[in-house]
Symmetry: C2
Subunit: 720 residues, 2 copies
């Protein structure tokens, strides 16, 4: 009797504190959110756009695998019912707090020099009175979307706990169009599929392609950022922000009810998160806009991240670079030095005694050749892959001690080459392929960063190809997410910028740690040498992958026919289309990925890559539709120069662009690099035109991009 | 047709190379080994002692989980039959090579200053002709036992492979007596059971006790070193030597046929070994002796390890130490500084603002008190546990960032205390409890070692309490074995000696890396405060656990009644028995584990601990029987002093010891510390006698140890 009374009393106490659903609207009253608990006590939220539901009532909460309670709770808990493991039902709203926030902040680098962060916040305190457990759900509501996260205050009844699964729903209001890639614990290197939600499982198998490490979990599993479009023409984008010390979230669709639910990446034991209060989840984000352009213009993900945590950022510089890379990707050269060894033991093999294979690209002469070309054309850095011993058997062997990150091959004179670069006003860019042997990388990281400092490297491209060691962990799990951030923060101590490939897809952490200047985490240009990537891919990535941060997509391929490398794959793009990417793909790290000899044949077109900026004061999103076309104009940081780019997907695209964004009264010299009329991404990809004309803000330009093609324009004020 | 012919030809070629079983005998012809292949082509060995079988025909080999073959083997392999995964059947003997070895080497520290390593070797090259795969089984046969290992040469058909299970058998010739502890992937902290082989499964459940991390795999699973005794009175000891980059081996018994088979520790995925040729397994060892003393005298395990790999060993010094430790073990004091926090976040909590709990043992005053006492009595070092922040929630929470290994609690002035110690001719001993969060330890290791160098620490006790992070890995798996050795070799770079607790049980690696001066890896003295350990335990460990290397058993408890600490456990030993351990347990690292105030009450008995050496020129094993009694005499290194010790198990033991090992014609002052007649390990543990007499090599001493008790003697030449 006593026990029942106690529980009933607590329930009564709480029930009196809050009756109606908690509500919050965006500053401009465009987006609003309700939160209530349902009959089972499950917190349930809805999202509205201009009063119309865009997310139907959606449940929130967690199934826990472990959540030790203090001994005193033995009395009020029926342990056999697992009340301690249920962080989903039996909730009541205890308190609701509202606040507002409006600031303008300056990113270290970015698509614009100032970003407005303006939201209304609602923090809803939810309690499970039976076990006196509290969770706060915090909403930040913007005019272009919502972020919410779970916050777990420190409390006796919730201290350490293990998440079996997060149960956050996103209930769709209709059978929307989705642009999606398969949910996977290890890779996002897929082409996108566009279809109705109800068709995902049917299309799933066709949406896959091979990768060195991949694991799907469901035929209705998709990744974020997920771009959706309603039949009303609303654009909805589901993603997450500030993924720190937590597992990456994919979404699994209940195809019948059109309800997505969170599906976290498991660890080697199948567990999905080890938590210690006080702590919180990443933000779950729902962007809702009336135009595709507003998706590209949204700063929702960045704004939901913490401000910069680095005190000194003066050493962080956007960089345009070339690389000894594409020649290995295409098969013309090799990363490895010798073909003699069945396998390598770094501590046993003497590389100076091996017979070179004659294809090793990272050799002194070749690197100097690249440096001569890149310095002549004003590049800041040269990436060299395959410079360090171990590439003979680096991939696919679950090898622990695979690289030491400090020992060059005999034909790579690290001292001389760095001096050679510095003498020409350039730096070398470091490469740390880890082969996903992450313990090994961490063991060598400090010395590897010290080596970089010694020789004057200030940026590293890191790689995580293949299955993770410790074995059983996944690229997107909490364990690895912890590692990626460790690599970034340790690098920052050495004033090193990081561009991590095959790492988890970004979630805006570059705001907090702006030395994270790039990631891959999507299907990049390399696949053009692995069989090709269909047009349209570059017109969806800015809506999805790029929402979380810049991508080192490595554009700029001029020679689409790779037979010079003995490679039968074709680069499915045009030179015009490649140039456009330097504007349509925002990144503070941009590569000119092709070989010097291929650029030599088209130095007039190459001029655009030389001219284009990598950091911006302003970006104007002129027109766009996912997977079809994107047209953007950007003003280079600290100058009056503008650059424009336009790309087309599977269909050609004609643009009429009004130049009203230009400074009024100023005359600009426009150099227009465009697909020639007869250009064709399959049969005639190198046909382009370059025209010059003078324009002002009053002009309108008519531009044509062939399918898979594009155009680029540089606009410089004409000196009076 | 062509295919069949090819295989038949290869088989014929190999069959002609070796017909009879391969044989090898020990230098003194005491032990001999045969190896043949059986009808299925399974390599099968036997071991004989003076012509009589001690190991019956026992199969060898591996089941593989993964073993990629070159593409050309598609033609001759029926992949569905998994030929590539079978590294057990279809073998033929291709070649047999014999050689002999005899050298005397000097350990950096040890039970004797010179060790003879004399064996006959037989290397049998085995081939699987069908897939052209070669394995070498190498035997080293000593007069007191056999070591054999598998060697995998680098070859196209065996490059990287994954072991599903090693299938090495040890077929016993009868239902021997076994002294065993339960097979476990994570701990050896068990009491021993003595029973017939056929009784193991019946006794299994009773043989268990709780531990912070444990996982048994079979009710007939036992650990090595496993001590056996035949009805003929032969002592057989099964173990392994030189466990490097491989998983620890337990043994699983086929109780019906009395055949042990290797059972390796799995990783998080259930796999048991990731191998890259050229490589080899550890040595599997079978010691066979006619007396128990010869088990203790055997150097088989050390001899099978590689010679010292450290160029400079001048900094490695055996050490006798005290510690701020037993007072926390008993519950009198605490490791943690505050009781205020439900849990700790090292980067958030300010420890200087916490309320101290008043029990924190590692405080300046208390440490100085220990230093005053220890320095007065000639100890070299003082261990202090609980000196660094994080102990408030260190155990059992699967916590990643649990310690930083460099930040002291506010009441531990690391600078002052080190100076205080140095001023008194002592050093502090570092403590690195990892809570098995091993990534975190490795991340902080370099800075932690640097801190030690800065303040003058030259030894560290490390700890691995609880389940391993990365989660799913085990204390005894390949992943962790790699880590332990990493910690040792990194420490060596800093001239730091390592004493690792809860690490894998040692296998003689201290020969190769003599800065590994201790391990726990067995049930140590601490359990006397956790409920007690039955007498006999200390009389089995030298036969089992100590075969692989020294143990930091932490003897020297003088106050058996722990009620002063509010602890109801009783130390089941006598003061005489505690003193004996300094001789019967060889270790270059010996602790006087009790509190200064407990020693103050018995300074006459304490004198033996002060006097006893920790490094030896010579050891004489006078009498012993596993779990019953051990009597040893040792000559202190570089002196003419001798020390003797004798312990008894569950029954009292009387010894008549002839002193013929002493230098002839020399008179020695013997100080005899012995159990008093009325001493009793339960009711009267502190009753001892101290007598002095003059002895020579012609004398015989009569000594009595009560059950659970013992005696100790110091013998110093009397100056003429």
């Amino acid at each position: 009797m006593k026990k029942v009374f106690f529980v009933a009393l607590m329930a009564a106490m709480c029930a009196t504190t809050w009756a109606a659903p908690a509500k919050v609207s965006s500053p401009g009253n465009v987006i609003s959110v309700d939160l209530d608990v349902d009959a089972q006590g499950i917190p349930t939220y809805q999202v509205f756009h201009k009063g119309k539901a865009v997310v139907k009532p959606s449940k929130m909460g967690f199934d826990l695998a472990k959540a030790p309670l203090p001994g005193s709770f033995d009395n009020i808990l029926d342990k056999s019912k697992g009340a301690a493991l249920d962080l989903r039902t039996g909730f009541e709203i205890k308190d609701v707090k509202h606040s507002s926030f409006n600031e303008t902040w300056k990113p270290v680098w970015g698509e614009e020099s100032e970003i407005v962060n303006n939201y209304n916040e609602m923090a809803v305190t939810l309690v499970q009175p039976k076990i006196q457990r509290t969770v706060v759900v915090k909403f930040r509501v913007y005019d272009d979307g919502v972020g919410f996260r779970y916050e777990f205050p420190q409390q006796p009844t919730l201290n350490y706990f293990v998440i079996k699964e997060e149960r956050t729903q996103f209930a769709m209001t209709g059978d929307h169009i989705a642009w999606w890639i398969a949910g996977d614990y290890d890779t996002q290197e897929y082409e996108y599929t566009r279809c109705r939600l109800s068709e995902i499982s049917k299309r799933f198998d066709d949406a896959l392609c091979g990768n060195a490490s991949q694991e799907q979990f469901s035929k209705t599993g998709v990744q974020t950022a997920l771009q959706l479009k309603t039949d009303d023409g609303l654009y909805i984008n589901l993603h997450e922000a500030a993924l720190v010390d937590y597992s990456c979230m994919s979404l699994n669709l209940d195809e019948k009810n059109l309800v997505f639910e969170s599906w976290l990446t498991p660890d080697a034991q199948g567990m999905k998160g080890y938590m210690q209060t006080p702590c919180n989840t990443p933000w779950r984000t729902i962007m809702v806009t009336e135009s595709a352009n507003d998706v590209l213009a949204s700063r929702l993900i960045l704004n939901l991240n913490e401000p910069c945590k680095l005190e000194d950022t003066s050493w962080i510089k956007p960089v345009k670079y070339m690389g000894v890379w594409w020649e290995m990707i295409t098969g013309k050269g090799s990363w490895n030095y010798s073909d003699e060894l069945p396998s390598v033991k770094l501590d046993l093999n003497d590389f100076s005694k091996l017979k070179p294979n004659g294809k090793h690209s990272a050799n002194n002469d070749n690197v100097k050749r690249y440096l001569d070309f890149a310095s002549k054309h004003g590049f800041q850095q040269l990436l060299i892959e395959g410079w360090n011993i171990g590439w003979e058997d680096w991939a696919g062997n679950s090898k622990d001690y695979v690289f030491d990150f400090v020992t060059p091959y005999p034909d790579f004179d690290i001292d001389m080459l760095n001096k050679y670069a510095h003498d020409r006003g350039m730096r070398l860019m470091m490469h740390h392929e880890t082969s996903s042997s992450v313990r090994n990388y961490e063991r060598h990281m400090e010395k590897a960063y010290q080596l970089m400092n010694k020789y004057g490297y200030n940026s590293v491209k890191s790689g995580y190809v293949g299955d993770i060691l410790p074995r059983g962990e996944h690229h997107y799990g909490q364990w690895m997410n912890n590692h990626y951030l460790y690599a970034i923060t340790e690098a920052a101590k050495h004033h090193i910028m990081v561009n991590a490939h095959e790492a988890v897809r970004p979630t805006g952490l570059c705001r907090t740690y702006p030395n994270l200047i790039g990631n891959e985490s999507a299907r990049g240009t390399e696949y053009q040498a692995f069989g090709g990537t269909k047009p349209g891919h570059t017109a969806i990535l800015p809506f999805t992958r790029l929402q979380g941060g810049p991508m080192d997509y490595t554009p700029g391929i001029f020679e689409m026919d790779l037979t010079y490398a003995g490679n039968k794959s074709k680069v499915l793009s045009t030179i015009g289309g490649q140039l456009a990417l330097y504007v349509t793909f925002y990144s503070p790290l941009q590569m000119a990925a092709d070989l010097p000899e291929n650029y030599e044949k088209h130095l007039d077109a190459f001029q655009f890559i030389k001219d284009v900026a990598v950091d911006w004061d302003k970006s104007v999103y002129l027109e766009s539709e996912p997977m079809e076309y994107i047209t953007i104009a950007r003003k280079a940081k600290g100058t009056n120069d503008w650059f424009m780019g336009g790309i087309a997907g599977m269909k050609p695209h004609d643009s009429k662009v009004k130049l009203g964004f230009l400074d009024p009264g100023v005359k600009y010299e426009a150099i227009i690099y465009a697909d020639a009329k007869d250009a064709d991404y399959k049969t005639n990809p190198q046909a382009y035109t370059i025209t010059k004309r003078t324009v002002t803000a009053k002009d309108e330009l008519k531009l044509h991009a062939v399918a898979g093609g594009g155009w680029a324009i540089s606009l410089k004020p004409i000196a009076k």
